[in-house]
Symmetry: C2
Subunit: 119 residues, 2 copies
């Protein structure tokens, strides 16, 4: 925002910078996408979800929920670019497998414990 303050023109947010549009007062993206890194994050969001869909989704939420929504949408978008087939569902599959493995180890330890205490 320094350059903006010096020239008298405020810097657009990362989303508007990426979309090459004027960042108006009350822009729904501005609180969540800063001028610098925000543009790169928004590029992924725009490619996967489309700026218009995300704008509608954020606008439909209470202000207090928008930060988390922007963060989870950004995460989903990055994951889908990284893994176009599974996206963040790959993470869900991996965690489900980890839960199954931990439950099996837990059952096995419990069974051992019961054996040790058997009369």
């Amino acid at each position: 925002q320094v350059a903006g303050a010096m020239t008298g023109f405020p810097s657009p947010c990362g989303a508007c910078k990426f979309l090459r549009r004027k960042c108006v007062n009350g822009c729904v993206f501005a609180p969540h996408f800063c001028h610098e890194q925000g543009a790169a994050h928004f590029a992924a969001i725009h490619k996967v979800f489309g700026a218009s869909n995300v704008s509608k989704l954020l606008t439909g939420l209470p202000s207090i929920d928008r930060r988390e929504a922007a963060a989870t949408i950004s995460y989903e978008a990055q994951a889908r670019l990284h893994d176009p087939v599974y996206g963040c569902v790959a993470h869900i599959f991996a965690l489900q497998q980890q839960v199954v493995n931990l439950q099996a180890r837990l059952e096995s330890l419990k069974a051992q414990g019961q054996q040790n205490y058997a009369p």
Copy 2:
């Protein structure tokens, strides 16, 4: 497909039915969205991702990967409509918490076991 076979006009796939467009031969959505249930699934996908973005994503993948990609995109879209703030990331958070809890129980059982075998 019965109605289509009887009238001589093939039924459009669920995506084309939802988009009210002609379902052309080789439609990228047709193998993954049937005429009936497919339209409801595609409505969620269109609202969250946009038909055009998903068409580009599927077209860019080898045919063998498209079924899984359509399924995971459909899952993400349904989850985002159900929970607009967290979407399917809510599932990731819940699984991460389950992993933490299971690891804690496992450590606790191990510690108990070591106590029982302590000289």
